[in-house]
């Protein structure tokens, strides 16, 4: 593998920085109209009336669509949706089907006009009357009515309920604290947008800012009552997703609008709509209790999360890491989930682990301090090499190495156990660390590789690049698997008509599509080999396939490389204009997040003994280290430097991998210090409505971030050995920062974000 791992720059980088990469909202169509949604201004109740007379008189208006005249969609039906691969709907609320309002901001109508400005102008003239009810807007007051969910994404949601109390009471040392995290919003740089183009009444094309073209196609086809495959979803470039670009209602809304006006229609969300209509990370109240013996060995770990949902079964699974990390004989992990009238919570970068590691890793720091143990020594003393719940070995695990490499590069030994020991001018300086972890998932995937007569190769799969580097690393793998340079390879992704791949979520893309890419290249080489062996004018004529190697665009006899035959020559003599191979790889653990209906045809699924969750537990691990400077007079915290070390299997591209971790750490700095969506409980409206109120880090908030990788391939996840890397970077970051703030100031802050008002 000479290309895999190389820190090459993104092959789509130039297109992006020159504005030539086309994003969903830029797919302008001839005769295109514009849709602007109208949002509910109450949190709960019914629409009593909608008066659209004034709106319809405004210039340019083509249609006003509400529940009174909207196209009837196929109703919700969990079983039928699962079968159609349409289960993954952001909120179970097909738009405009009735007059009920479930949250403030819900789409209740859409205005279609000749221009965006005209649509928006007319939308303001719609007069909506409601029969309002009192909304459930406050988590704390709704908790007494909360439910205990049995399952979360196929896993048991209440583990050992009530069993930790005894061992905790018997422990020599205990910490029992409550940690809270706020609502966070994803806010990818590119707002959600869809352009809908109907071809007659049975075929639809959606240019959509989505994390999964296959998923969007299946869901849209299901609700619009179209044949699977008759909705083509195109998303060559996506400006970030972070979990928010699943399928949300605007995509169905614009398809409905386009059908009414019989023209292509564009709908682009405003930043304000992104605060209400495309999901968020729910707030959590987490109670973590740890008990240890006198020597600091954990005896029990209890992690309870109070959170909420609205229109799906999804809730923030903050206990996930507490089922994986550390050797504790007993662990109790439970959830209470209330229902709020608030836009529906959804997956957000490291759902569960991001807020969950804040609570667990803060609690660990607290108990280590009580024990007067170094936090790393405490973690090493309680390290586990087995999955503590399932009992399997981890497929590949180098967490202790992460601690050691991190400590050395960060200079951890300069930290004092006691807080308030280091000052620079007006600032108190502190060091903190935390463990990072995220599951190593893998799904079924199909990849097609095509070689043309001139030796150029196209690799295609319905995967997506949400800014992660999918284009680049896929080209690197194919370059290695065929022995050709990266610049001879064109990567085609982001189109649901390509062979199926998982959506870009759960850090699974690399682990899933690369084994399939590798396999399809093997098939292609096999066919080239067969052609060469059969061709009497080939230097490889009559030789055995196992004697033949490949490199530099040629097949050759291993050990006698002068006996070679170039791919282009083989194709020319065989009079083949192109060769094509499509391989599906399916891990033992199953299809996972991939819509199973659209794999390669004919489907070839090589037997693969990898990613067997009955044999191994698949997780990535890491260690995060922060140095903070605190100005106590003002309560301001600056992260001055950060070290992030990760064990994520093989590194596919050192540069894009590093960028992923840097991005994750920045996300974590935002969560630690500033990101929070606040709601006014009287009305249920977000008060932080735009990026002026919802603060994300600016360049000056981001210190030098020192990234290290263990880089050892995972022998069990796939023949390539790479686990995903998109989410682990954020985990543990806010705990490392909060722990550093404690080390600097002696103040233990358990409520994110650590804004000046809490520290002053």
């Amino acid at each position: 593998m000479s290309e895999i791992g190389k820190p090459i720059s993104r092959i789509d980088g130039r297109l992006k920085v020159t504005g030539k990469a086309t994003y969903a909202a830029e797919f302008n169509q001839q005769g295109m109209a514009y849709a602007f949604p109208v949002r509910a201004t109450i949190a709960k109740g019914q629409i009593a009336s909608i008066d659209d007379a004034a709106a319809k008189k405004e210039p340019g208006v083509l249609a006003v669509i509400s529940h009174k005249n909207a196209l009837k969609l196929k109703p919700l039906d969990q079983e039928a949706q699962m079968k159609a691969g349409a289960a993954f709907l952001g909120e179970t609320l097909p738009p405009l089907q009735d007059n009920k309002v479930h949250y403030l901001g819900q789409f209740i109508a859409v205005v279609v006009a000749e221009s965006y400005e005209q649509a928006r102008n007319a939308a303001y003239r719609l007069k909506v009357r409601y029969n309002a009810e009192k909304g459930a807007n406050d988590l704390k007051s709704e908790l007494p009515k909360a439910k205990k969910p049995k399952m979360f994404m196929g896993e048991e949601a209440q583990v050992n309920e009530g069993k930790a109390a005894g061992p905790l009471a018997a422990s020599a040392h205990r910490v029992n604290q409550t940690y809270t995290t706020p609502v966070e919003h994803h806010h990818p740089m590119e707002p959600h947008a869809t352009v809908a183009v109907w071809d007659g009444t049975e075929k639809l094309t959606l240019y959509d800012a989505t994390q999964g073209v296959g998923m969007t196609s299946a869901i849209a086809a299901y609700f619009l009552g179209l044949q699977p495959g008759n909705v083509q979803v195109i998303a060559p470039y996506v400006g970030g997703g972070f979990g928010s670009k699943g399928l949300w209602l605007h995509t169905l809304l614009v398809a409905m609008a386009a059908k009414v006006v019989k023209r292509p229609v564009k709908l682009a969300l405003t930043r304000q709509m992104m605060q209400t209509n495309v999901g968020h990370r729910a707030a959590t109240i987490q109670k973590v209790a740890l008990g240890t013996d006198a020597a600091g060995k954990l005896s029990a770990l209890r992690h309870h999360t109070d959170s909420y949902t609205n229109l799906t079964e999804f809730f923030e699974p903050s206990g996930k890491q507490s089922l994986v990390l550390y050797k504790a004989p007993l662990r109790e992990v439970t959830y209470n989930v209330a229902k709020l009238n608030r836009g529906t919570p959804t997956f957000m970068r490291a759902p569960g682990e991001a807020p969950g590691t804040f609570a667990l890793e803060s609690a660990l720091d607290e108990i280590a301090y009580e024990l007067k143990m170094d936090p790393i020594a405490f973690r090493i003393a309680n390290h586990t090499t087995n999955d503590p719940m399932k009992g399997h070995e981890f497929s590949s695990e180098y967490l202790v190495d992460c601690y050691k490499i991190g400590a050395e590069n960060f200079g951890w030994s300069a930290r004092s156990m006691e807080p308030r020991q280091k000052r620079v001018g007006k600032y108190l300086v502190g060091y903190g660390m935390a463990t990072a972890t995220y599951p190593g998932g893998r799904s079924a995937a199909s990849v097609k590789v095509t070689m043309t007569a001139n030796g150029e190769v196209t690799v295609g799969t319905a995967s997506i690049d949400i800014g992660t580097g999918t284009y680049t690393v896929l080209a690197q793998t194919v370059a290695d698997a065929l022995g050709i340079p990266v610049d001879r390879i064109e990567v085609k992704i982001g189109d649901s008509s390509l062979p199926a791949a998982p959506l870009a979520g759960g850090s699974q893309t690399t682990a899933s599509i690369h084994p399939a890419a590798m396999e399809s290249c093997v098939m292609l080489r096999k066919e080239l080999t067969t052609l060469a062996i059969a061709d009497s004018s080939s230097k490889l004529h009559g030789r055995k396939p196992e004697e033949i190697g490949f490199a530099n665009g040629k097949l050759f006899i291993t050990g006698d490389e002068k006996k070679a035959d170039a791919y282009v020559d083989i194709l020319r003599r065989a009079k083949r204009t192109e060769l094509e191979a499509c391989a599906t790889t399916q891990p033992v653990s199953g299809a996972g997040m991939t819509v199973p209906s659209a794999l390669c045809t004919p489907r070839e699924t090589p037997a693969e003994q990898n990613s067997d969750i009955k044999q191994h537990s698949f997780h990535s691990f890491g260690a995060q280290f922060a140095e903070v400077w605190v100005d106590e007079d003002f309560g301001t915290v600056r992260v001055k430097r950060f070290t992030s070390v990760h064990d994520v299997g093989r590194i596919m591209n050192e540069k894009t991998a590093r960028s992923q971790i840097i991005g994750g750490v920045i996300f974590g700095i935002g969560a630690a210090l500033m990101e929070a969506t606040e709601y006014d409980q009287r009305w249920g409206n977000p008060v932080t409505r735009t990026l002026a109120d919802y603060h994300v880090p600016v360049n000056l908030d981001v210190p030098p971030i020192d990234v290290h990788f263990i880089g050892k391939p995972d022998p069990h996840i796939s023949p390539i050995g790479a686990r995903g890397i998109g989410e682990i970077g954020i985990t543990g970051v806010s705990a490392a920062i909060a722990n550093a703030v404690f080390n600097a100031t002696g103040k233990r802050l358990r409520d994110l974000p650590l804004t000046p008002d809490k520290l002053i």
């Binding site: 400005e117 003002f634 309560g635 210090l673 409206n685 008060v687 600016v698 908030d701 002053i760």
Partner: protein, 340 residues
């Protein structure tokens, strides 16, 4: 956005005539605030008159200091030699605000008449007396972490967002205005903005059709000892939780003259008269700064979520005065260093 009429004025007289003839017309400067407000339907002027081509785009010497054009951009002003040398406090304050892109667009006149960033003002579905007289104040009993601690009324607890204006208040600027009657009038800066009282819908004492032409800064002896300190939730591109413009004129370590104004605490830039009076003639020591700051903040009335601002304002006054005393705000790097 609702549709509106648009024109570009080539002379001051016609700009004023057009706007004063239409009660719902507005002047348009860089548009960095007004256009946002129009997109969100908070303001819906029927007519905009672009005034950025008018002649008031330079920074000149005046009889008693300098005269800053209302249509000059914030960026041009902050980087102008006359300002950097003679009024580094103003440079620092401007550069502490917004982003480079916004400062390149925003005009000085527009900066003065920008509206509050109170989220209840911005959300047309929420009550706000400033946006819709008589609808109530959403923030008074709502989320008011970023709201006023001084000078607010039951009708409005919003704060005025500008950084530039805090420095102008400290430096005793004078706003020059041309009226629809073709007259020139001047408004002392401290009287330009107003407290909310019973009519928070009125931000300032400018009348409809009046156009800000220049902002005059009198000469002073503060250049070597002035500092703008801004505390915010991230390092840049955020409105102040609390900011302080501090300027001193020293005789040895004795305070001959002092100016202090606060941002982020009131409906207008808050001139700290009490603290100024307390410090006059005293030694420039941290203890004195602290006593003066405490005296100024005695009248603070924090809301449910912003009690932190009182201590923050005291500490910020102390730090800003200390930095001003040491000369940290003077020289070619004024406003560029990391000041929190």
């Amino acid at each position: 956005m609702r549709s509106f009429k648009f024109s570009t004025a080539n002379d001051t007289g016609s700009a004023i005539t057009t706007v004063s003839a239409n009660p719902t017309a507005r002047f348009l400067g860089g548009g960095t605030n007004l256009l946002d407000l129009m997109k969100e339907d908070v303001m819906h002027p029927s007519e905009l008159v672009n005034v950025t081509r008018l002649k008031y785009t330079d920074i000149d010497k005046s009889s008693n200091g300098i005269s800053i054009g209302a249509m000059a951009t914030n960026a041009f002003t902050a980087n102008h030699e006359r300002v950097r040398k003679g009024y580094p406090l103003l440079s620092m304050a401007i550069l502490a605000g917004a982003s480079a892109q916004i400062r390149n667009m925003a005009t000085n006149g527009g900066n003065l008449i920008q509206r509050t960033r109170c989220p209840y003002f911005y959300d047309v579905n929420m009550p706000c007396n400033k946006r819709e007289k008589g609808s109530g104040c959403g923030a008074l009993k709502g989320i008011n972490r970023n709201h006023a601690i001084l000078g607010w009324s039951e009708k409005c607890v919003a704060v005025y967002p500008s950084d530039m204006a805090v420095a102008l208040a400290a430096l005793d600027a004078v706003v020059h205005v041309e009226t629809p009657g073709k007259e020139q009038r001047t408004i002392p800066f401290v009287d330009f903005h107003r407290l909310p009282e019973n009519n928070p819908e009125v931000d300032n004492n400018l009348k409809h059709g009046e156009l800000i032409t220049t902002i005059e800064l009198p000469e002073n002896n503060f250049a070597e000892h002035s500092y703008y300190l801004k505390i915010r939730e991230r390092s840049s591109y955020a409105f102040a939780l609390v900011s302080v413009a501090a300027a001193l004129s020293l005789d040895g370590n004795k305070i001959k003259d002092v100016r202090i104004a606060l941002g982020g605490v009131a409906h207008k830039p808050w001139r700290a008269n009490v603290a100024e009076k307390w410090l006059s003639g005293k030694e420039a020591t941290e203890a004195n700064f602290k006593a003066a700051a405490d005296a100024e903040l005695k009248s603070a009335k924090p809301l449910e979520h912003n009690k932190y601002k009182v201590k923050m304002a005291v500490e910020a006054i102390v730090r800003a005065l200390s930095n001003a005393t040491s000369g940290a705000g003077y020289g070619i790097n004024a406003g560029l260093e990391d000041n929190v």
